[in-house]
């Protein structure tokens, strides 16, 4: 009974947060299936520690798992999502091809950054964490976060493909 209650609570947490976690992982990896692997791995660790983290901030725990696991995904790649039916068709978007192309351009531009730059920008501009929160979460100095943000932003602004996309 306790197990079922725990599982239901965990399932609600996953349902409410998975879109953001998979997106975070996608921004870090640039690859959707790898992103889902990382997110799934992070949630599995969260489930393993659920009793300890459920009263705190389990989202932060999963986030940190994803960021750390991104550095060693190749070690874990034997554990992959089980095959499952394709996701049912979603309501059509106005300009699906255009959106996909823009998405790919963003992901390619992020891939040209260093891992640290990608991570810091994703935490800062996708999850809206402060520089201090990012420093705390990554275990690095706030000054390092600040300089990494600045370096990543200037690289994105100078990115030729992004500039071409913006003017097209």
């Amino acid at each position: 009974m306790v197990r079922q209650a725990e599982r239901d609570e965990f399932a609600s947490f996953v349902a409410a947060s998975q879109a953001r976690m998979v997106r975070l992982a996608l921004l870090l990896t640039g690859d959707r299936s790898r992103a889902e692997d990382l997110a799934q791995d992070g949630y599995a660790k969260a489930y393993a520690s659920w009793e300890r983290i459920r009263g705190g901030d389990p989202g932060a725990y999963v986030r940190r798992c994803i960021v750390n696991a991104n550095t060693d995904w190749w070690r874990r790649r034997t554990w992959r999502e089980q095959p499952r039916p394709l996701v049912p068709d979603q309501p059509g978007h106005g300009d699906m091809a255009g959106e996909m192309a823009a998405r790919e351009v963003v992901l390619r531009a992020l891939a040209r950054l260093t891992r640290r730059e990608r991570t810091v920008l994703a935490l800062r501009f996708y999850l809206d964490l402060t520089e201090f929160q990012i420093a705390h979460e990554l275990g690095i100095a706030p000054g390092t976060v600040k300089s990494t943000v600045a370096r990543g932003l200037s690289k994105l602004r100078a990115d030729a493909e992004l500039r071409a996309e913006a003017t097209s």
């Binding site: 998979v22 799934q40 599995a44 750390n68 550095t71 060693d72 920008l121 600045a150």
Partner: protein, 256 residues
């Protein structure tokens, strides 16, 4: 350090539309999480057995018995200068003053970490996998010329941790290993850091500053306790540098 630009907004929308919503498999997650729990329980029981054996050996006076909670620090590497070869744009943007990068570590396997002083006087390090797949995995120039130990300055900098570098290491009963970097006077040959109350040490690598000067750079592998919910520079409680004769040449801390 790179100056901050005036405009600090992100030029791209990271909240772009996704064609298919995320739909993770809860059953797989729960199965995997349950397996991790089981492994942790087994590891905990194993550690308790080792503790009992260690205590018993002390009681009966067994000589030469040693019980290691954690694997030893990776062997210190000599510090050969490797030919100048820009790793990528990071190094190209911060060219080494001597034209050469200095090898800090080749641990773990498939990882290389190098350090160098730039023409501006900053000291940088970079870690990358081999093969690199075209990208430096982590890079920073955290120290300016004013941070380099010298007369009238601290002989040892506060260590900085990098959670990004080389974490493809086997889990140690659920704990993780992270490297810490720092500067130390070039007279030092070894540095010991106290992190979460445990000591970790590594050799100091001399990095050329130009004009015949060098600074010591260290990269120490630390073990983060499995019980820690996070870690950072505030988890260090002290750092000590020793010369070749084992004398203390610089000390930082203890920090509260």
């Amino acid at each position: 350090m790179t100056p901050l630009p005036a405009d600090r907004t992100c030029p791209v929308d990271l909240d772009f539309a996704e064609p298919h919503p995320a739909q993770l498999d809860l059953d797989v997650i729960v199965r995997r999480g349950t397996a991790i729990r089981r492994r942790r329980r087994i590891a905990g029981a194993g550690a308790a057995l080792v503790a009992c054996a260690a205590a018993a050996s002390i009681v009966v006076g067994v000589r030469g018995a040693s019980f290691r909670w954690f694997p030893p620090s990776p062997p210190a590497r000599p510090a050969p200068a490797i030919p100048a070869k820009p790793i990528d744009s990071q190094v190209a943007e911060n060219p080494p003053v001597t034209g050469k990068l200095t090898l800090l570590s080749s641990f773990p396997p498939h990882w290389t970490t190098v350090a160098w002083a730039t023409r501006r006087g900053d000291v940088c390090w970079a870690s990358y996998r081999t093969p690199m797949d075209g990208a430096t995995e982590d890079f920073d120039c955290p120290w300016s010329g004013a941070d380099v130990p010298g007369p009238g300055r601290q002989g040892l900098s506060i260590p900085l941790v990098s959670p990004f570098t080389g974490s493809d290491l086997p889990d140690q009963a659920g704990s993780e290993r992270v490297p810490a970097f720092g500067l130390v006077t070039s007279r030092a040959t070894r540095v010991t850091l106290t992190f979460f109350g445990r000591s970790f040490s590594a050799a100091v690598v001399p990095v050329p500053l130009g004009k015949g000067q060098t600074v010591g750079v260290y990269m120490v592998w630390l073990q983060v306790p499995a019980s820690a919910s996070g870690f950072g520079s505030s988890d260090f409680s002290g750092a000590t540098a020793y010369d070749a004769a084992g004398r203390i040449v610089a000390r930082h801390g203890p920090w509260s």
